[in-house]
Symmetry: C2
Subunit: 429 residues, 2 copies
């Protein structure tokens, strides 16, 4: 990690800058894949899955038998762990259900909002050696709580055409019945346009490589919504002298192992503490199976020594981290200073891994500075809040004249007339 | 309006289709404007305002004196109307403030969400002869309730460099202190990049012409969020035999007068009622100052006679209208059938104008089918919901092992280790 000591405020903006993402050169490739799927449907999916994943499939959809086999293949203790996570994530996301009151804004004028599930959602789960079943929990559980009518999970198959058992077990556990063996831009295209095997959806969720990200962006041009803009994962840790340097080092590394482009920032005001953390980090690093990846991420990572805890929070708000860890025994002092962050971990025992897997909060969070203007995924991401209003005769009599005056001032006379005809009818009532 | 009688379900998709929007040919123009503002700041704003709005300005920001003069210029009865609207909109949007509970998902694992205002927001209000001061209420009131720190209102000046008094009065009434005389793509560019006179913002709200819309889309590439994708305004009315044809005709026209591209759809199962509405509509149309605009909109508008009220709601959900009016005395029968709509108006006295101006609901709503996957503007649009978590020693002991197992199964050993170091430390505690 590069260390910066007491940088002046003018230098903060540069320090808080993310590396510019490599300009997207995939445009043409992704366009071709998407058009192919749009025109050729399932045939394209079978062909592209053979080309990109090396898997020759007979069926795109996972069969009941495959799911049964997966359930048997997952070790019992992992099943229990996943169930614990499921329960916590369910509790927290269920608490986000709100029954909003009917508000009578003027006498006879009733207004309210109703949360209505987005009907059809697609969940993308990347493939590769490590099965990201935790993301199924994070996306599938709120989708089920919201009562989305169709939930379609797409994930690329291995070369032998199989899907990792932990993925199938988790999907089945939370009641996702449609799992499609399809990955990459072709999966996103299928969710966007629909094919014979895959229904088109209203919103697409989930992480993915640059092809998937690019395809999700393009899907937005076809009326499909996406969860949020994508960027590399990141953590910012503010550590004071009451932190545990071993814990902080482990937390920094858990972010660094995600990918060479992961962003790791450590802030503090105690030089000795920061040095101790770095020392611990270098020791722990050597033990990691993914140390080569972590080392690359650490090359871009920063330790910044600042003058005050206030400065630490000001810098953090400027950076707007996806994950913010306050490694301190005195977190209560600081909570109100947090403005821009995706998810906040308070105190020495709240590691990012807890939120990544099992505490209950969602791990799909805004990166790349989007914590300034986006929330992470929550139950809200799977519903629309539709407003309703009902005016009684008294209601339109109470506010009708105000509407007429305002519509007239905006020169929208038909808007005015919609009120006038009602007020007139009531005069003759 | 074109009439379709009992179309078969296969024909619904085509009937629910919006006209394809003219392909955006403004790319280069808007890119040039945005780059100009990025490079030349205020100088570009003065120059472009002279070029596009014909106004030679000394100052971009509206002065206190101009605001005072505006307050005096607005007639008292319009002031009272705006105040009534303000009160209702405030009541409804304040009711959207939620204090979410702290959820203990496992013993010692506390999770919660906190709504934190987006710090800096920009509100764009179009110019032209009709001052859209109602949109200031709809965007400014929730921004104030959310406690956004900076609220910047941009609106183009008239040729003489002035802003319509109703705009300045309304902005002042709700406490917006920064009003900038700047419109078009150049205003969006200024809100995106910042200039000497205009701070850059985190999120841009508000309607506008195709240049503004295009610039808002481009601003998203610079980390700025926008309220929602844009499209022409639209209404779908479902009228049964208990409707008042005069009222329905007036409501259809109030949508049609918005613009030649406005979308108006009327559904029903009673041929006589639909014919009566059309007759009324043709009569009222002739009285309208904006009848030429309305006539153009009506050329693309559709009256569709269907077999059952169920069919009406199925069609409406397929279309996903921005505004949905249920013109009936029996709206309670139908509420639960509504899935996709931006804002719903129930019964014969709930005209769209009420929601456009003064009932309390927001009038910034998803168009072009986005009611399937987007909500309208609300208090939520001005905040991020940040998740927090705090694990006690007991907390990490309760869920730590589950995290370890899941992280290991995902082959993220540093994630596992962040828990292991804590559990080990507690064993030695």
């Amino acid at each position: 990690m590069k260390t910066f000591k007491y940088p002046t405020q003018e230098k903060w903006a540069a320090l808080a800058q993310r590396p510019t993402l490599p300009k997207n050169e995939l445009n043409e490739t992704v366009n071709n894949i998407m058009n192919d799927v749009k025109q050729n449907g399932d045939e394209a999916l079978f062909r592209l899955t053979e080309e990109f994943d090396g898997a020759k499939l007979d069926n795109l959809q996972v069969s009941d038998q495959e799911i049964e086999e997966a359930i048997n293949a997952v070790p019992d203790e992992l099943k229990k762990a996943i169930e614990l996570a499921k329960n916590n994530i369910t509790k927290f996301h269920k608490s986000q259900q709100t029954e909003e009151a009917i508000i009578e804004t003027s006498v006879g004028v009733k207004c309210w909002r109703k949360s209505i599930a987005i009907e059809k959602v697609g969940l993308y789960i990347p493939g590769g050696t490590a099965p990201l079943f935790s993301t199924i929990l994070m996306l599938g559980i709120p989708a089920k709580i919201a009562s989305c009518k169709e939930i379609i999970l797409c994930t690329p198959p291995a070369k032998d055409g199989t899907i990792n058992p932990a993925i199938l077990y988790t999907a089945n556990l939370i009641g996702i019945n449609i799992v499609v063996k399809c990955g990459g831009a072709q999966a996103i295209a299928a969710l966007c346009y629909g094919t014979k095997s895959i229904a088109s959806v209203n919103k697409i969720f989930g992480p993915g490589n640059q092809y998937v990200t690019s395809a999700k962006e393009k899907a937005q041009n076809y009326g499909v919504a996406i969860d949020m803009p994508a960027g590399p994962s990141e953590v910012l840790v503010i550590a004071d002298e009451t932190c545990n340097p071993i814990f902080v080092a482990a937390d920094l590394l858990s972010q660094a192992e995600h990918g060479a482009d992961s962003q790791v920032i450590l802030l503090g005001i105690n030089e000795f503490t920061l040095a101790k953390i770095e020392e611990e980090l270098n020791q722990q690093l050597e033990q990691l199976p993914r140390k080569e990846i972590a080392k690359k991420a650490l090359l871009n990572s920063k330790t910044i020594l600042l003058n005050s805890m206030n400065d630490c929070f000001d810098f953090s708000n400027l950076y707007a981290p996806e994950h913010l860890i306050i490694a301190s025994e005195n977190t209560n002092l600081y909570i109100d200073q947090i403005i821009n962050a995706g998810s906040v971990f308070l105190g020495n025992y709240s590691c990012e891994s807890a939120g990544d897997y099992a505490s209950g909060t969602n791990h799909t969070l805004p990166t790349n500075g989007y914590a300034r203007n986006y929330s992470g995924v929550s139950l809200d991401s799977f519903v629309k809040k539709v407003t309703f209003q009902e005016l009684s005769k008294t209601g339109i009599q109470n506010i009708g004249n105000a509407i007429e005056l305002m519509a007239e001032a905006e020169e929208l006379m038909a808007h005015k007339n919609a009120v006038t005809v009602r007020l007139k009818a009531l005069q003759n009532d």
